[in-house]
Amino acid sequence: MSNATLVTPPPSEVVAAPVSLNGRQEPTALISMRDLWKTYEMGSEKVHALHGVSFDVKKGEYIAITGPSGSGKSTLMNLIGCLDTPSQGEYWLNGKNVSEMDDDELARIRNQEVGFVFQTFNLLARATALHNVELPLIYGGVSSTKRHEMAKEALAAVDLADRMTHRPNELSGGQRQRVAIARALVNHPSILLADEPTGALDTHTSMEIMDLFERLHEEGNTVVLVTHEPDIAARAHRVISIRDGQIEKDHQLR
């Protein structure tokens, strides 16, 4: 991809518009979920973790998905993050039909389109902050010099330029989560998907991390937060509440 053809649209502008999605999907959506079902078989019994979930996310949105435990929000998050495929329904992410992909294609989508931030950070204990951030690039096939450069940039973006050679156990909880956020950002994914990102942090650090998410959103990133804490959800611009595997409320705050 040469820089000569590079045109920078404003964050709101549509970038990848699917040509035809059975005529149902709005062309502006980054995420488009259509009547998603997820069914688990527990012995002879069928458990519907999700039944008939449909919603769209536009590029540049800041969304919180909330709900009590057992509501299906974790299942939904796994689907959004392409860790899992729906039993039924369609999921389009950035113009690609994820619902029909096999394991390797899903891995590729996770690598290119999704930036994960986990509650427990999920950093590799033996690797330095820099190496942790490089990990998605390694699986994306980026050359090592480019990788270093991109990882350093991402760490600088979360104010950790001076902690690059530290291992996770040499960092505070807030710093670890920022490393994780840098890792999520380094591949320039379509969505930043955070699962209870402040769940393991104290209030003060939580606020710092939330400030960081806010900043990343302002910079044009699409952020999807999964949380059960109302005050965390309240900082998003749109809140989707899940209960019993269905959308209970889809609420635009700002």
């Binding site: 860790l83 690598n111 998605p136 994306g140």
Partner: protein, 445 residues
């Protein structure tokens, strides 16, 4: 400051979104290289952080490979020793004799004994008529007791030879002193060239130059030492240097002319061997033809030293296979150890596998990572095993007195086979890791 830096990266993001579909394939080949490199680093890191476990695994492989390498090396040394011993004359020498070197039954013995003796005249006819023959010599052996002063040694091989080229055909050379001249050889004088063992056994290990011109008693007759031979070494505890060479005319005079002789014929290169053998057969058939026309038996035996090697090979090949097989079992045990350790490693790192999968590692990436780890252990183990095996072989060879043959092929094979063991034993654990569900894996602690 940081904000500005990040904003600069934004255009790339947008382009990335646009062209992911087409850009995806382009980077595929690079994916493999960087992921394999990562796998290698992870493997090394994992092996280093579990030192005790790694060394126990290594021992399993080292023992197996070392056993195989040591056994193979010792066998090769033994084979080589046997081959050089039986054919110190090389593959360019063949013999004409009354009886073949190997007699399989009493009937055969009786049949061969009825043959006419091979005589000096036969040898002269071959020398005269065989155009493909390079060197022709005759030799006869007898065991005698050698004495010097009050020291004596029994069962010394006394070899009567003529002409002097028989030394070349035998593949022996003089270290000190000289061989007899033509005149001395036909004069019937009591002169000899001795093997180095004679010095050890009846001269108390005196140096070669000090025994020249000394007189020894061979079978009760006095002989003057003209020269001392270079050592040839021993086989199966039997020294090949325990020998006294004397002129054939003297041999006939001293130990009897009635024995059948053996004619030794050497050709310049192995390629001429068959032609020369055919010529000699024709010459000998003509000389025997009248007497043995009714019989299938030609009345003489034309042989190379290979008959011994063939017999030896037949007798030992199965023993070797079994020995190597037994040693290989320990390698299989080593493979099971590796598999066990890899299964533990996979279980221990389930969470890590989950993280890697969430970040975009595909099944193959995870499979490769664990396979590389298994192969790394077994390759290192294999390399150490090859070294240890050669070390063992060196010690054992030195103790028994075999030559040590360091075979590059068996070293490569040792590392190669252990790597294959690594792949086989790593495959199942790696496959289990690769097919882990990322959600389950992330949830594990």
């Amino acid at each position: 400051m940081n904000r500005r830096v990040y904003e600069e990266t934004q255009p790339t993001l947008v382009v990335g979104l646009r062209t992911t579909a087409s850009g995806g394939n382009r980077s595929r080949s690079r994916v493999r290289v960087s992921a394999i490199w990562e796998a290698l680093l992870v493997a090394i890191g994992s092996l280093r952080s579990n030192k005790l476990r790694t060394s126990l695994t290594l021992i399993g492989i080292v023992v197996g490979v070392a056993a195989v390498i040591a056994v193979v090396t010792i066998i090769q040394g033994l084979d080589n020793k046997v081959a050089t011993t039986f054919s110190s004359q090389g593959s360019t020498v063949f013999t004409v004799s009354k009886r073949p070197q190997i007699i399989r039954s009493r009937e055969e013995f009786i049949k061969f004994n009825k043959r006419k003796d091979v005589t000096h005249e036969d040898a002269e006819a071959i020398t005269r008529l065989c155009t493909s023959c390079w060197r022709v010599g005759v030799a006869a052996n007898v065991l005698q007791t050698v004495k010097h002063g009050d020291q004596k040694f029994e069962n010394v091989r006394v070899r009567g030879v003529t002409p002097q080229t028989m030394f070349d055909i035998d593949g022996v050379s003089v270290a000190q002193g000289r061989i007899w001249t033509d005149a001395e050889g036909t004069s019937g004088r009591q002169i000899c060239v001795v093997g180095p063992d004679v010095l050890t056994n009846v001269f108390g290990g005196a140096s070669a130059d000090r025994v020249l011109g000394e007189e020894i008693s061979v079978g009760g007759r006095p002989f003057v030492i003209l020269g001392v031979l270079e050592p040839l070494g021993s086989i199966f505890g039997n020294s090949r240097d325990n020998v006294v060479y004397i002129p054939y005319s003297t041999y006939q005079k001293s130990y009897g002319a009635r024995e059948s002789i053996v004619v030794f014929i050497q050709v310049p290169t192995a390629a001429q061997l068959e032609t020369a053998e055919d010529q000699v057969r024709t010459i000998m058939s003509n000389r025997r033809g009248k007497i043995f026309s009714a019989d299938d038996d030609p009345g003489f035996s034309v042989e190379t030293q290979d008959v011994f090697l063939e017999l030896y090979g037949k007798a030992t090949s199965n023993i070797y296979l079994v020995t190597i097989g037994v040693a290989a079992i320990s390698l299989i045990v080593g493979g099971i150890v590796v598999m066990n350790i890899m299964l533990v490693s996979v279980t221990e790192r389930t969470k890590e596998i989950g993280i890697r999968k969430a970040l975009g590692a595909r099944r193959n990436d995870i499979l490769t990572q664990f396979l590389i780890e298994a192969v790394a252990v077994t390759m290192i183990g294999g390399a150490i095993g090859v070294g240890t095996g050669f070390g063992l072989a060196y010690i054992i060879s030195a103790l028994i007195g075999f030559p040590l043959l360091i075979n590059v092929l068996s070293a490569v094979l040792g590392v190669g086979v252990s790597s294959v063991v690594g792949i086989i034993s790593g495959l199942w654990p790696a496959w289990r890791a690769a097919k882990l569900d990322p959600i389950e894996a992330l949830r594990s602690e």
